[in-house]
């Protein structure tokens, strides 16, 4: 997560985006975040995973999410998966609100991950399937 934080900071400073100090209001529906900063980078073997991995990351307001992939996984799908997980996690866990609620509700995060990333498997879900998943949650 340290690596993601530094990549994020470097990317943001390179694009010279002003960081807004206030937290925006979240809309009620989960929205895909097309313009949120994100990227890809690799971690060499041993640091900290035993094998070489690729990390896809996404930054939403003050939170960063990282998805660790094997080198031969579909990175486009990884980025799509992150962009779908982010708003749903933010919304369900009220991640931008006060309090440490998120730490006390692991089953909520687990439930989301179980549907969108079951056993770590990325799914090719089109919008309608995604809506079906949202209905199930």
């Amino acid at each position: 997560s340290r690596q993601v934080a530094s990549q994020c900071r470097l990317l943001q400073s390179s694009s010279a985006r002003p960081l807004s100090p206030q937290l925006p209001q979240l809309p009620d529906d989960p929205i895909p975040l097309q313009d949120a900063p994100g990227g890809l980078f690799q971690l060499p073997p041993g640091d900290p995973f035993p094998e070489r991995v690729t990390v896809a990351w996404l930054s939403v307001v003050a939170i960063a999410l990282a998805l660790v992939c094997d080198p031969q996984e579909n990175l486009s799908l990884a980025e799509i998966t992150l962009r779908r997980l982010a708003p749903r996690l933010l919304h369900s866990l009220h991640l931008l609100g006060p309090g440490a609620d998120v730490l006390l509700r692991p089953e909520v995060a687990d439930g989301l991950l179980d549907r969108l990333l079951p056993h770590g498997e990325m799914l090719f879900l089109n919008q309608h399937f995604l809506q079906a998943v949202d209905r199930e949650l």
Partner: protein, 806 residues
């Protein structure tokens, strides 16, 4: 009492408190109902267990209780998930009695599997889970159960340990996957009535599935098929495709454990190749081959579907991801069965033609190119145009797409052997590749550190040297290019050649600067070598020196330069080393105008100069003109102190007949006089009030080198001795003491005295300064070896209190 609150998240909790809390949870779990209080406690317990680095010792009985609760049929889902989460956090756990053998419910099986797979496979848990899953899949599932929840487990199992499944089991699953991929329902599903969402049950027949653009689907169901509600087999279709790549990689090939299948494999293949052009009745095919057939058809269909214009724009991203996946899977299938290659090659060539002009499909060009790299020989297809387009057009146009940049560089790394072939289009295009690095430095620097050695050889070294030094300028130039492209056409006219440009944007359209930009932004390697013509452009681009992207790029250059020299040292011969040294000295004046960048580059160049001298000491003599010119310029002491100091040191070290027979007395004298003049100017001339003072290290090195040269050419000794004795006056003069630090002046004086003493014993001096045949560790560092030797000698000559041993 003793429950961890949210404010103190369990980190400080003591063993005793934990035990008490656990027993409280236990009593709740054993109670009649598992209500909100139980949930609350489990949540807190999870946090406690998760928040510590060391495995929390929960009582074995308690762990057993968790497992029992998890598996009990009347346990609410939320509690189940929490118990599973806690058990996973504690993995690997010795008290685990869980087994998936008796579990019928697929959701529970999935939960339990997640715990078992986290145990580190010490007791063969992975294989056990794999066996159970296949067993469940083999039979018809009871009503209400779905294979949907356990397929991902299977995917996990085979990637953790492919040999967990027997050949038979692989065949069973392959057969099912082929069916799921090919024969899922093409009618939409119905809404589940359980949610109470609909007040009255729907009686309308669900319609057929559609494509993403709304058209009615006329072919089999895929992940790009659209329906309001979905049937179970449609879910399985999605999951089967999602795990297809990994399944084919792990289990698709022949060559699993059982050797007896190999006898038939040769025969199967030849049968396949003779009938490959005819549609085979796939029911006759063995399961793996049948799966390949269905998978291939599925991928072809996906490719077609990916060209439709989706009604929901977010489906567009998925289309691209599907396209990439489809091409990759086709590549894998062709590797496993070359009879598919012809079909795939012609199909993908058409696809390439369709998407090569569309920037949104650019990432898909990579797996297509990879396919042709893998199979073009078999396909007898000329794929040069594909590679050329990929390497020359894409980096130039899309360098700013960070994800593409990353994947592109991965592609280069995976095919690095192609870049070593001198005439290949891959090798020729390396300047283009650096654009990715220039724009997206932080994520790509480590990738380039891996990749750069493949690009370096005697033919490319010089060009890459210049490229690296100009990398931040490239970033700036790319920025200008992007901004210029965004201007309205009215502002894009070429500017007046007579008027010099005031901004970089103006320069981009200025006739005189145009060719400089073009050189910097070139897509192909060129042997033309005139870096000084970029001087005006570098100066102009200096206005962008504070741009964050340029600064980030500049920070990567020292790392790459060090790597460059390390690799080059392995193959460089004398002439190449000479060329590099000359360029090094030249370029030290021609760097991008970023202050921290210049300092870092000087630091690297100066230490690498020493390395080059060690490799080829004769260069001091061979390049005497250039080196004399450089070391004789007093301005270099201030502007490029590191390089100057190391050059002078190198002269002292290597200008000797021991390193090069051609080193004459006249040569030594020439260098001596040049350096003497410099030292004179630095120390003896009356300094102006504005002179800031020269770096003390430079003064030290000058003195040392002059001494070394005198030791070799002994008639110079009186001159040096006189000079050195004047140093006392220098360090004591008021103009000097006001400008230099006291410790520095002291050091200079001590050094001068030591050198002077040494020269009093010329034969000793000669021994000390004659380069030994085998250099010991004392002669490594610039200033470290000399003081050691000097102090030894001085102690012999003048044991004054200031030089007590120890």
């Amino acid at each position: 009492a003793g429950a961890p609150t949210a404010a103190s998240p369990g980190r400080e909790i003591q063993e005793e408190e934990l035990r008490r809390f656990a027993s409280r949870v236990a009593s709740l779990l054993q109670g009649p109902e598992l209500g909100p209080e139980a949930v609350d406690c489990l949540q807190r317990l999870h946090l406690t267990v998760a928040a510590t680095k060391y495995p929390r010792r929960l009582d074995g009985k308690f762990v057993e209780l968790l497992q029992t609760v998890l598996c009990s049929s009347k346990c609410p889902e939320q509690v189940q998930v929490l118990c599973a989460a806690i058990l996973r956090e504690m993995s690997p756990c010795n008290d685990l009695i869980l087994s998936c053998d008796q579990i019928q419910d697929t959701k529970l099986l999935s939960l339990v599997s997640s715990i078992l797979l986290a145990q580190g496979n010490k007791k063969g848990e992975v294989a056990a889970v794999g066996q159970r899953i296949v067993k469940v899949l083999e039979r018809r599932l009871p009503e209400g159960q779905s294979a949907r929840y356990i397929l991902p487990v299977l995917s996990n199992v085979i990637s953790l340990s492919p040999e967990s499944l027997t050949e038979e089991q692989v065949n069973v699953v392959s057969k099912k996957m082929a069916d799921w991929l090919r024969y899922a329902s093409t009618q939409q599903g119905v809404a589940q009535p359980s949610g109470g969402f609909f007040s009255s049950p729907r009686t309308k027949q669900p319609g057929p599935v559609t494509e993403v653009d709304g058209a009615i689907a006329t072919d089999f169901f895929t992940v790009l098929s659209v329906g309001q509600y979905h049937t179970q087999d449609q879910w399985l279709n999605v999951q089967a495709f999602s795990m297809l790549r990994s399944w084919l990689l792990c289990c698709g090939d022949k060559g699993l454990k059982t050797p007896k299948s190999d006898d038939r494999s040769g025969m199967d293949k030849s049968v396949m190749s003779t009938v490959s052009t005819l549609p085979t009745s796939s029911r006759l095919l063995p399961p793996k081959e049948r799966l390949r057939e269905k998978a291939f058809e599925y991928c072809q269909r996906l490719v077609e579907q990916s060209h439709r214009r989706p009604l929901k724009k977010d489906d567009a991203d998925l289309q691209k991801a599907c396209l990439i996946e489809a091409v990759t899977i086709m590549d894998i299938i062709c590797k496993q069965d070359s009879s598919y290659v012809h079909r795939a090659a012609s199909f993908l060539k058409v696809l390439h033609g369709r998407i090569c002009g569309d920037a949104t499909y650019a990432r898909a060009l990579l797996p297509i190119a990879q396919f042709f790299l893998n199979h073009s020989k078999v396909a007898a297809v000329d794929s040069d145009a594909i590679y050329r387009h990929l390497l020359t057009d894409i980096p130039a146009q899309l360098f700013h797409n960070a994800s593409l940049a990353f994947e592109f560089v991965q592609f280069c790394k995976a095919n690095s052997q192609l870049f070593t072939e001198t005439s290949s289009v891959f090798r020729q295009s390396f300047p283009n590749l650096f654009k990715f690095l220039a724009w997206n430095s932080p994520p790509l620097i480590s990738e380039f550190v891996d990749f750069l050695p493949s690009l370096l050889d005697a033919g490319t070294a010089i060009e890459i040297f210049h490229l690296l030094l100009d990398l931040p300028c490239l970033t700036a130039a790319l920025d200008v290019q992007l901004r210029s492209a965004a201007l309205p056409t009215s502002e894009k006219a070429a500017s007046d050649p007579a008027v010099p440009p005031s901004t970089c944007l103006e320069a981009f359209r200025h006739p005189l600067y145009r060719s400089m930009f073009q050189h910097l932004l070139r897509a192909k390697s060129t042997s033309e070598d005139a870096p000084e013509r970029l001087i005006p452009l570098r100066q102009l681009l200096g206005s962008l020196a504070s741009s964050p992207r340029v600064v980030q790029c500049a920070e990567t250059v020292p790392v790459l330069l060090e790597l460059f020299f390390k690799v080059v040292a392995e193959f460089a011969d004398g002439p190449l080393i000479n060329q590099l040294v000359v360029l090094l000295l030249q370029r030290s004046d021609q760097l991008c105008e970023i202050p921290a960048f210049k300092d870092d580059v000087y630091r690297v160049l100066s230490s690498q100069l020493v390395v080059l001298c060690k490799l080829h000491p004769a260069l001091i003599v061979e390049l005497s003109t250039e080196i004399l010119e450089f070391s004789g310029a007093v301005s270099n002491i201030q502007n490029k102190e590191a390089i100057f100091t190391h050059v002078v040191w190198a002269v002292g070290e290597y200008l000797s007949v021991c390193y090069d027979r051609r080193c004459t007395v006249e040569q030594v004298l020439r260098f001596f006089e040049a350096l003497e003049a410099v030292l004179f100017e630095v120390t003896q001339l009356r300094p102006l009030p504005t002179t800031p003072g020269y770096p003390p290290r430079a003064i030290s090195v000058l003195m040392a080198t002059l001494t070394k040269l005198a030791a070799r050419s002994q008639d110079l000794i009186p001159r040096v001795s006189m000079f050195l004795s004047k140093m006392r006056t220098f360090v004591q003069s008021p103009a000097v003491t006001s400008v230099y630090q006291e410790e520095d002046l002291e050091e200079i004086l001590i050094r001068a005295t030591e050198l002077l003493n040494l020269l009093k014993m010329p034969s000793v001096a000669q021994v000390v300064f004659t380069p030994p045949v085998a250099s010991t560790r004392f002669q490594r560092e610039v200033n470290d070896s000399l003081p050691c030797a000097l102090r030894m000698v001085t102690r012999l000559l003048e044991p004054t209190p200031g030089f007590m041993p120890g």
